[in-house]
């Protein structure tokens, strides 16, 4: 279900597990406020996988972390994050903490910094189980061992410290921790970015299996479009703090409607494709700087216009928002609006 359909969905239809509405985040720095997320809406159900793609700085992590209010105090958040009907942005801290432990968990970017270096991984996996599931030490120990085995790290290594594992193993351990309290939602921020292709394939395969078996909803962030299209049934592409295109992954890759999605897709060559042989494709220019972004947010116009090879005069003056661009898809581009004949 796309954001657009949601707003027009008939009353009485079961509410989605996660319903994000007009989410906005700005960072305060000195006198200035710098927008990082500028109005993002989407829904996610149990067992669904949504991939978020975009360049670094496009606001992916900020968006994802704000869902569980994991941002620093300098971040100002507005909008609604309805998780099973409850707005997490206004929920009490105690309630939020309970949700974080049990119902929704995060696999952070950079597993090494997210694991505590002076405690064994066994202790770290057991902690949420003990806190949340109110079971004894022995049962928690057994569950931790089971979890570790399930992610393909031998459970005899429960008493080892994070630095004794390889990058891929640490990332699996993070996944085991995220699964510890059987959550309904997992937010994975670049879970495999620092990993080798082979280890990355192992970790993604594992995550995919676990999610399918348990019917967990997943939001997976990556700057790698090909990884996301493989893992996620739906894809949202972010640019300068907004979703520029959203829809079924396969369609977004095969027939991108937004010029930015097209450019991003070309940047990952398919081996064997003569078009990319000895012809790397990039996207000239740079994403907007924070001050440019602040200016853009006040006025109109498409944030992508300075880098867009298809830009028209109207792109600098008209309001651009997500418009339907096909069944179950939307794109924020004036050309799409033109093409649809509306």
């Amino acid at each position: 279900m796309t954001a657009h359909e949601r707003t027009t969905a008939p009353e009485g239809q079961a509410a989605p597990m996660l319903d994000v509405r007009d989410l906005r985040v700005s960072y305060r720095s000195g006198e200035q406020t710098v927008p990082a997320v500028r109005g993002v809406s989407f829904t996610l159900d149990r067992g669904q996988t949504l991939g978020i793609a975009g360049e670094s700085g496009s606001g992916k992590s900020t968006m994802a972390l704000s869902l569980l209010r994991l941002l620093p105090a300098s971040a100002q958040v507005s909008g609604e994050v309805l998780f099973k009907g409850e707005d997490l942005l206004t929920a009490k801290w105690a309630r939020l903490r309970a949700v974080r432990w049990s119902a929704a968990s995060v696999v952070f970017q950079g597993a090494m910094s997210a694991l505590n270096p002076v405690r064994t991984i066994g202790e770290q996996i057991r902690e949420p189980i003990l806190l949340h599931d109110k079971i004894g030490q022995r049962a928690a120990r057994e569950r931790a061992a089971e979890l570790l085995d399930s992610v393909g790290v031998p459970s005899r290594r429960l008493e080892s410290y994070p630095h004794e594992f390889s990058g891929g193993q640490r990332q699996r351990i993070m996944i085991a921790m995220a699964l510890a309290c059987r959550p309904d939602l997992i937010i994975a921020d670049e879970p495999t970015t620092a990993l080798d292709v082979m280890v990355q394939a192992q970790v993604l395969n594992l995550l995919g299996e676990l999610v399918r078996e348990a019917g967990i909803g997943v939001i997976m962030i990556s700057h790698d479009l090909s990884v996301l299209s493989h893992m996620c049934e739906r894809l949202a592409v972010m640019y300068a703090g907004r979703i520029t295109e959203i829809g079924p992954s396969k369609q977004l890759i095969a027939e991108p409607r937004h010029p930015y999605t097209r450019a991003l897709g070309r940047a990952f060559p398919t081996i064997g494709d003569p078009a990319s042989r000895l012809a790397p494709a990039g996207l000239p220019g740079d994403p907007p700087t924070p001050s440019e972004l602040a200016r853009l947010s006040e006025g109109r116009g498409c944030a992508f216009a300075p880098r867009c090879s298809e830009a028209m005069d109207a792109c600098r003056t008209d309001t651009v928002e997500l418009w339907p661009s096909g069944p179950r898809r939307e794109a924020a581009c004036l050309r799409v609006l033109e093409g649809s004949g509306t």
């Binding site: 292709v197 280890v199 493989h230 940047a267 398919t270 081996i271 064997g272 790397p280 990039g282």
Partner: protein, 317 residues
């Protein structure tokens, strides 16, 4: 024609750390880079790519074997190395780390020329290098500091620093690994353009097979200190022979084949398996049960650049 850069039977062994055996990071490699050619060196983390790259530019002294530049063995005296580095430049992984945050672009790019006493018309030299690296107009970038530039621009500064010495060979270690997809393409385009306009030769280290498809003429696949398959990009990536290369290609998201996930411990250069070094993880061995796989060592690949492909495996030739 003589290769501009060559290694013969190269080994680099790091001394043992407490308890462990010495690490055979590069364990017998033959490799040639010809004039105007781009060779990609690919393989998983820890397989020895950076060690080999550092040996190629003389930053690491080989434990055995030779590095040859234009057919001449590399000397390791300070003077010989200094002369060599004008000719062969290293471009490093992670532009953020490679640049000094308190040094502006001009000084960063001028560092090499100053070290080599190339100070007359330094401005011109630096500006030309910046322009070649795509930072145009150069005057606009010379005064900037790293934090005032994007990651892609920082990587261009690092490349300009290498170009300022007008080298004929560049060894680039993961030049785009830390960059965004869109920027990655721009930097790879630059490397191709430099080859086409200046006749530059390059060895590009990467764990990304797509990069080889994008810019390289030939590719060498490294596993645990050895090159296990090498040849033209078309041959190796479209018709891979070695089971390791095949597995690597199969896990790419759009390979169109069922992924072959390698299991077993990640390779460890302090305990290299006997026989074929890939045998503990090899899916073909598991299927074929050939006694040579764990019983018979394989010869080091010759690295002959005229062969369309060579693979180090008992079962495929």
């Amino acid at each position: 024609m003589k290769p501009v850069l060559e290694v013969r039977d190269l080994t680099v062994t790091y001394p043992a750390r407490r308890g462990a055996a010495p690490a055979r990071a590069v364990d017998g490699v033959n490799l040639r880079v010809r004039q105007g050619e781009i060779v990609a060196l690919v393989g998983e983390s820890g397989c020895g790519k950076s060690t080999l790259a550092r040996a190629l530019v003389g930053l690491v002294k080989p434990t055995g074997g030779q590095v040859l530049s234009d057919g001449e063995p590399l000397g390791y005296s300070a003077a010989a190395l200094k002369a060599y580095r004008r000719h062969t430049q290293l471009v490093l992984q992670d532009p953020g780390g490679a640049l000094n945050p308190r040094q502006n672009v001009f000084d960063a790019v001028a560092e090499g020329p100053r070290l080599h006493g190339l100070t007359d018309r330094l401005d011109e030299r630096v500006h030309t290098a910046l322009a070649k690296a795509g930072l145009r107009p150069p005057e606009q970038f010379a005064g900037r500091f790293p934090h005032e530039m994007s990651g892609g621009q920082q990587q261009r500064v690092v490349i300009a620093g290498a170009l300022a010495l007008e080298p004929s060979v560049i060894v680039a270690d993961e030049p785009v690994a830390s960059l965004d997809a869109s920027v990655r393409g721009e930097i790879l385009k630059l490397i191709l353009e430099l080859r086409d306009s200046l006749g530059l030769s390059a060895l590009v280290v990467s764990h990304d097979l797509g990069l080889a498809w994008n810019i390289a003429d030939r590719v060498a696949v490294m596993y645990l200190g050895r090159i296990v398959e090498t040849g033209t990009v078309e041959e190796v990536l479209l018709r891979p022979k070695h089971p390791y290369t095949r597995a690597l290609l199969s896990v790419l998201p759009d390979s169109g084949e069922p992924p072959v996930l390698l299991t077993g411990e990640p390779p460890d250069p302090t305990s290299v398996p006997g026989g074929c070094r890939f045998h503990p993880r090899c899916p073909l061995r598991a299927a074929e049960q050939d006694p040579r796989c764990d019983g018979e060592d394989l010869p080091v690949l010759t690295g002959d650049p005229s062969a369309s492909s060579l693979a180090a495996c008992h079962l495929v030739q």
